[in-house]
Structures are given as C-alpha cells and as structure tokens.
C-alpha cells in the first residue's frame, strides 16, 4: 500500500544512465529543469517529451514504475489544472459559459501544458537522478560539485551525509509507518473515513510512535557510525572515486544541444514557431 511510493527510490541497474557520473546527471538535471520552464510552445513541449522518452528508454526503468511515481502527485495536478481552466481569461468567446464560470480555449491549453510540464519534470528528474543514481553516489556528486563552498566554511560534507541518511531511511520509515498503522487499525483506529479534520486527528497516534522510534533509530545509528570510526570528512577516503568518462562528455554535449534548442524555440519570433506549433497542436489534439 504505502510502500508503493516510488518517489525518491533507487532502482539498481546497468543502463547507460546508471553508469553516468552523478555530477553529469546533476548538471543535466539542472539543465533539464531550466529547459522545462523555458518551454512555452507546443513544439518545445514536444521536444521535451521526446527528450524524456529517450531518457526513460535509456534508463531501462519500466513504465509501470514511472507511472507509479506520478501517482502521489495526481491530486495536485488535477487541482492546478482546474485552477488554470477556471481562472484563465482568453481573448475570444468562452467555450462554456455558465453563470460566472467561463471556460476559454486558452485556459484548457494552459491547464494541459501546466500538467504536462509537471509530469515531465517529475519523470525527467526522477529518471535522471533518483531512480538511476544510488543515493550515496548522488550525495558524492553533490558534495563534489559543492566542494568549492568548503573554502568559505559551508559544511558541505555534513549536508551530504544528512541527505544520504535521510534517503537511506525512507523505505525503513515507510515500512515502520505501515506496521504502526496496522497495529492501530487492529485496535480499531480508523484512518480512511470521516471528515478531513477527523482524519488528520487520526494520524496523531500514528505520528507520535513514528517520531519516537525515529529518534531512537537516530540515536542507535549515531552510535553505530561512531563505532565504525565516523568522524566527518576528516581523513576520509572513498570506495568509488568520481571521474568523468568520454560518455559523460557526450551526454554533456547532448545537454548543451538540447538547452540551446529550447532557448532557440523560446526566442524565435512567435509567428514562426507559433504557426508550426499551432498546426502541431491542432493535429495532435483536435484532429485525433
């Protein structure tokens, strides 16, 4: 049930994406996020879609897993889409006019692209980073990228360690939540009916034991780490050393190419890209 949540979980594998240097993936992710927010025409969205599709295929992560990753945000998506549909005022005649509710074509288009943008964002970042990068190498990547900040006294290693541990304990805590929930349910607790407030209140007997046990875990983990000679990044070496390989540069080239394309699509005069977009859009969503 809850353990179905895949957001932020690593799937070990041997795909080309898995093998990339985490720093490459981090930089590409940043580029990807910028690209997602640059996109404002159907053509741009179409290229984004192709890019994400390539990433998914290259990562060899099953579509089922990816769809599961979107599930938790589905309500947020629907909500923002509805807001966009109802709140956007278009220029022409409204498609539907019902008292104060007026729905314009622009609203629908905007809502659609908004949702599309968020979905692509989630899939793209999770395929590039969380699904294919072990949290430790992800943290190594972040630590290495941010290491210049150490010179000005930013505790980069500490943040990196905190993140690793947080990621490590997500599945454990989910398991624990499920256990406590079952224990409370078996004693008559009801988590799934009643008003929103009632349901929120029902979570208290779930959260308190969860917090208490998390603190206990933290304590034990700290001692176990001390026993294994952990002393921050002082005198610490790494099993896996990060090094850029030719394929990293290849992917960088892709990334630069892609982001240039997105910038180009953004600044090309609207009437050129617009007309292509219009046709593509009409073709994709109204003719079919």
């Amino acid at each position: 049930m809850i353990s179905d949540i895949t957001l932020g979980q690593f799937f070990p594998g041997n795909s080309p994406i898995h093998k990339l240097d985490p720093r490459t993936k981090l930089l590409l992710t940043v580029a990807f996020i910028v690209a997602v927010f640059l996109a404002n025409s159907p053509l741009a969205f179409f290229s984004l879609f192709l890019a994400v599709l390539t990433l998914v295929l290259a990562s060899q992560i099953s579509f089922k897993v990816i769809l599961k990753g979107i599930k938790p945000i589905i309500y947020v998506l629907i909500f923002t889409a509805l807001i966009n549909i109802f709140m956007t005022r278009g220029e022409g005649e409204p498609l539907i006019s019902f008292y104060i509710i007026k729905i314009y074509k622009e609203g629908i288009i905007r809502a659609f692209f908004m949702a599309f943008r968020v979905i692509l964002l989630i899939i793209g970042t999770s395929v590039l980073l969380t699904y294919t990068t072990s949290p430790i190498s992800l943290t190594d990547g972040i630590e290495s990228l941010l290491s210049p900040l150490k010179k000005i006294g930013v505790p980069v290693h500490v943040f990196a360690m905190m993140m690793t541990i947080a990621l490590r304990f997500i599945p454990t805590l989910i398991e624990e939540t499920e256990k406590i929930m079952n224990a409370q349910k078996s004693r008559g607790a009801d988590f799934s009916s009643g008003s929103l407030i009632k349901r929120a209140k029902a979570l208290i007997p779930l959260l308190i034991p969860l917090f208490v046990s998390s603190f206990k875990r933290a304590d034990e983990l700290a001692i176990a780490m001390e026993c294994r000679c952990y002393r921050g990044d002082k005198n610490r070496t790494k099993l896996v050393k990060l090094s850029y390989k030719p394929k990293d540069f290849l992917w960088f080239a892709f990334g630069i190419l892609f982001i240039s394309l997105m910038i180009a699509l953004r600044i090309i005069p609207q009437h050129i890209s617009g007309s292509i977009s219009e046709e593509l859009f009409n073709f994709l969503f109204f003719k079919i």
Binding site: F10, P12, S134, P135, I136, T164, I165, L167, R168, P171, T172, E175, R217, E220, L221, I223, A224, M225, E226, C227, R228, C229, Y230, R231, N235, R236, T237, K238, L239, V240, K241
Partner: protein, 298 residues
C-alpha cells in the same frame, strides 16, 4: 598478561537522567556497572549473559570508548584507553580494533547499497581505494553476501542485513568484535547464520568474540561465560561450570539451557543424571543412559 586483548580494572559507570555519564558516583542513581574487573585473552570466545538492564550493554560500550567510565581502567591491546591524555586519533584506532554489531540491523546500515555500506568503515579509516575494494570483497565473502553486493539493504531479510552489518565491521579488520544482542531480532534461521559467522571468525581468523545475549543455548557454545547482574560481574567461568549452578541462575532471574534445566529437574526428583550437560547431544546421551537403566531412582 601480554596476550590479554582487553583488561578491565574496577570498572564503574553511572547513567544520569539524560543517559550521559556523570562525573561522580551518586547515591541516588544505582550504577549501571559496578566495580567490574575482567581480562579477556586474544582469540577467546566469550558470552555475556544478564537480563535487561543488567549493565551488559554498558559494559560493551565502555570497551570501545562510546562511553567513558567514571571509575576504573580499561586496557585495549595493552593501551590504557581511560587515561586523560588519550587523543582523538587514538580513540578511532581503538574503535577500529574493537568492532561492534548491534541488535537492530536496520539502524546500523548507513548506505543504500550493500557494498557501499561495507565500505563505510574502511572509508572512515582513510584507507586507499584499492585496499577498501579488497577489504569489501573479502568481508562480503566471509559472510556469504558477495552476490548481494549491489543490492539495496532494505530488501534483504533480517539475517542477511545483520550479515552485511557484520561485513561492515570485518572490513575494518578489528581484533575484537562485540555482538550486542545481534541475534535478538532475528528469526531462528537468521540467528543460526549470524552465530555461525561469529564462530567462524573466532575459529579461523582468531578474532576475539564477545557475544552479549540472552539465549542460553548461544552462551553454552562459548569458551567462557560472564554473568552480569545489577551492574556486577557475578560469575566468570566455562559454560559447564556456570550452567550447572541452576539454582543460582534461577535466583537472579536467568535460566540454564533447556536440556540442563531438564536434567536438573530430574536430578532434584532423585534420578541419577549428570547436571553439567550443556549441549543437546550431551543431554540426549544422559537421558538415554537413564532410560537404559530403566529410569530407576538413585
């Protein structure tokens, strides 16, 4: 004396309300450990018994400087780790010599990939990469988890997780490994796996093993058993010596292995059976002899 890996003299420890050590013996809070003196030889296989809150875990934590004693001395490998001028570097050296495996395997694993977790200790020791690689592979081999090197720990069984945790300690090449109730949360199969590794390390690599447990059957397999009750070291001897004192064990809320208990009951009913049998086989033999004699009262 020079082959003593661990030597304690008059070790005492008191927890204050916050669970940290206090500076002086207080009259209000009973000490968690009270005047314990014990020496442990290199390569010994020791079991520490005691019920919950008896001080046995505190004892373990004093041996690798997780806690500092308020009184007494601890010598590890000939070095006094309780003296004032002990540096941080020396402390980490002690911790790499005295490894510790805890009860809950989940709360010991730091990394999300098995081999990266095993590498955590050697990484902290600042070893060169090739050496870490070698140690990780060897350690995973010893515990039989080599094929899981790239797995995520949360998908393993309890016994497997505990084996990974042990590999993480072995990779630091310690001279002593303390198992602090490491089998308590495992199913019988997992428990047997962990116990077998423990004994293999002791036998083949001459690692001193201290198994803190409340399973009498586990303790019966050790070379030597220490019984700690209310912070005091009550008994120190071979399992045979200790477990034949069934009455005494009962008086402090402990039991002997089931077979020994059975023979003890029979003998107190007047049957002629030995009461120092500690393994199941010995118990079986004793019962067979008894039945062969027609089960007559002595």
């Amino acid at each position: 004396m020079e082959n003593c890996i661990i030597k304690n003299e008059n070790l005492s420890f008191v927890y204050d309300d916050e669970g940290t050590s206090v500076s002086a013996v207080s009259a209000v809070i009973p000490p968690a450990l009270d005047d314990v003196t014990v020496s442990i030889k290199k390569g010994e296989y020791i079991a520490v018994l005691g019920h919950n809150g008896s001080g046995k875990s505190t004892f373990a934590k004093l041996l690798n400087m997780i806690l500092k004693p308020i009184n007494g001395r601890v010598y590890i490998d000939g070095k006094d780790i309780t003296c004032e001028e002990f540096t941080e570097d020396e402390m980490f050296e002690v911790r790499s010599k005295v490894g510790m495996v805890f009860q809950n395997p989940d709360n010991q694993l730091v990394a999300t990939v098995v081999e990266e977790d095993v590498a955590f200790g050697p990484e902290n020791l600042g070893l060169p990469r090739a050496e870490i690689r070698k140690r990780v592979d060897e350690a995973l081999d010893v515990v039989g988890m080599a094929e899981y090197a790239n797995h995520a720990p949360h998908k393993l069984s309890g016994g497997q997780k505990q084996r990974v945790a042990i590999a993480g300690i072995i990779a630091m090449k310690p001279k002593v490994i303390i198992f602090d109730e490491s089998t308590a949360m495992l199913d019988p199969l997992g428990r047997r796996e962990v116990l077998e590794i423990m004994e293999k390390l002791n036998r083949e690599d001459n690692i001193t093993v201290i198994n803190i447990t409340h399973y009498m059957e586990e303790a019966a397999r050790a070379d030597r058993v220490l019984i700690i009750n209310d912070g005091k070291l009550l008994l120190d001897g071979s399992p045979r010596e200790i477990f034949s004192k069934v009455d005494f064990l009962h008086s402090i809320g402990l039991e002997s292995p089931q077979g020994t208990e059975l023979l003890f009951e029979l003998s107190s009913l007047g049957y002629d059976v030995p009461t120092d049998a500690i393994s199941e086989d010995e118990c079986y033999d004793a019962l067979k002899t008894l039945l062969g004699k027609g089960g007559k009262l002595a």
